[in-house]
Amino acid sequence: MTRDFRARQIWTIARLELRRVFFSKRSFWVYGLALFPVAIFVAAAIGMTYERRSYEAVNRVSPALINSVNEGESVEAVLERLGTPVRDREFRRRHRGEDDESEELLVIRNLRYWDGSRFAELRFRNGILEAKFIRQLISLERQRQAYNGVFHYYYLKLAIFFGCLGIFMNLFRGEMLDKTLHFWLLAPARREVLLGGKYLAGLLASSVIFGAGAALMFAAMVWPVDPLEARAFLAGPAAAQWARYAGAAMLACLGYGSAFLAAGLLVRNPIVPAVVLLMWESINGFLPAVLQKISVLHYVQSVCPMPAPMDDGAPALVRLFLAPAPGTAWPLAVLGLCALTAAVLFVAARAVKRLEINYGGD
């Protein structure tokens, strides 16, 4: 009964369990959670590509021409100089004058021009250019912001959280419900070895699912970006950023996984620990520094390459709630999370030793 033998047992259990975790009906919705934002990014990319194509088909003007347009110019002058716009919208509105008596007819006309990467939105009021907005159709910077936002608010706080709940809670509780848990308990293995094997299986499965989800989402994020810009990004900081997002996803699995594994052993109803943990992670920002250290998000956010985005216009309360915990240096964060996980697994190991088969009366 050497250490080596136990390590091999852990691996055997993990391998057998992996098949169940990957293919069980209980985990199919986890794939949904992981792939949903990928689908959104792909859809957005397709939409933008389609938009660009439709613009190209109509007219493309030089960037200099777009820059030459000035407020106060007339529609006719602009149309003559730039040619057909890629989009032309007109609204008419009755507008009451200052004296409340006279009624004036207001004609708003929006023209959009395309220069191959940017589009200019020109707004004319009664034939005179009133405002001009220029925007990059696809900008790497905006894509990255979007990715970062989705990663922090959807991936870390929802998808991985509930995904791990589904995967890790079911490692023991699900088999108790299926009346199959005795298969493992009757194996010549220490309970801690069984726990280790199952945790490893859950960790591998969730890391693969959410690590791959984060990677695919990253690819889908870069995909519509201008190829030159994309290439520069991919050759430069992309790899490091990608690694940190994927790493953060896996660390979140590590932390949430241990918590839900322990919860599945200690409580019967999965809703209760889920709600408690979700609340705990949400209010974590308000807590004293010591308590903040007992939070998965606290560490995981420190590993992400960018902090969670914060809209300056958000109400104070919302901002407080969403406020990312003040970051720790990422190697420290990894260590901290590992220590937290080890502590939770220690509790789980004690619980698994007391675990009894209880398939309900029949």
Partner: protein, 310 residues
């Protein structure tokens, strides 16, 4: 190693308020031992305690010197066929047994060989490639048996293993148990029908309401019964009169009215004196229609032991 026995010492197990087993003390030597008792009497609980699936609230258990708290060593020598299927979804009988052997540390080649052997011993070679989900009740029973014996355990624990087997397979299965027992191993099985196991068992343990009510070699159990009061069902008119006449006698230990006023169930410690007393009563003018021994077969013995505890 200490004597190869299974020892229960004052073991109690409660499920919350519900009694599982109460103060069970047993020494089980190698051989075939049957736990017999009605449904809910605690047979499965005893087996689960023995294999560490549940833990006792009080008392201690050792199995050939190992504690059920040490599955790493205990399960190496133990195989338990529970009443529940454990085959993963979509697994064939072969996969199921083979997979389980990997947990015992066999490499996949050895596991395949052993799985095939075990399946052959339970007569499932033909069905080995089919999905367990499509098996009949008897086949599932057998594939669980194959899983339990595949690593050649010294202690084989089987929860109602003869349930759902047809006569031929049943005979083969019993032969398998005997073979195990003949090699100095433990075979512990359960049943709620005494006749099913009394002839094959070296030892019978009768359980009712979580307590051991009799144990020993089946002959001893029967002898024990012979020294106990016997029970008769009397059909007569004026049953309550007859009851009061019988009640004063010291060989009569208990009288129960049955079927309204038409019958009596009488427990006596002395059959001869009881027969004489009935004679007297009949001569005194009471009509006694019939006197039937209520416990002449094994079932009745069993009824007596089990029922007597209620």
């Amino acid at each position: 190693m200490s004597a190869p026995e299974i020892v229960f010492d004052e073991v109690s197990k409660f499920y919350g308020e519900v009694l599982g087993v109460n103060r069970v003390t047993l020494r089980i030597p190698p051989g075939i031992t049957s736990l017999v008792g009605p449904n809910g009497s605690g047979k499965t609980t005893l087996m689960n305690l023995l294999t560490g699936l549940v833990h006792p609230d009080r008392g201690s258990i050792t199995v050939r010197g190992f504690s059920p708290r040490d599955p790493e060593r205990l399960m190496r020598i133990t195989g338990y066929a529970t009443q529940y299927d454990a085959a993963p979804r979509g697994a064939t009988g072969f996969d199921f047994v083979c997979t389980s052997l990997l947990l015992w540390g066999y490499d996949s080649r050895a596991a395949r060989t052993r799985a095939a052997e075990a399946l052959e011993r339970v007569g499932l070679t033909e069905a080995a490639g089919r999905k367990v989900a499509a098996y009949s009740k008897g086949m599932r029973q057998r594939v669980r048996l194959a899983q339990a014996i595949a690593h050649d355990p010294e202690v084989l624990v089987l929860d109602e293993p003869l349930n759902g087997l047809d006569p031929v397979v049943r005979a083969e299965t019993i032969a398998l148990f005997r073979d195990f027992a003949a090699r100095g191993r433990h075979v512990v099985l359960s049943s709620h029908v005494l006749q099913e196991v009394d002839v094959i068992s070296d030892q019978v343990i009768l359980i009712a309401n979580g307590m051991v009510v009799a144990e020993g070699r089946i002959r001893n159990v029967r002898d024990e019964i012979d020294e106990r009061p016997s029970q008769f069902l009397i059909r007569c008119s004026g049953a309550s009169r007859v009851a009061s006449l019988l009640f004063g006698r010291d060989h009569v230990s208990e009288i129960k009215m049955v079927d309204g006023r038409e019958g009596l169930l009488v427990m006596t410690r002395d059959r001869e004196q009881f027969a004489a007393a009935l004679n007297e009563i009949a001569l005194a003018g009471h009509t006694i229609e019939s006197v039937l021994p209520a416990d002449e077969n094994v079932d009745a013995l069993y009824e007596y032991l089990i029922g007597g505890q209620r």
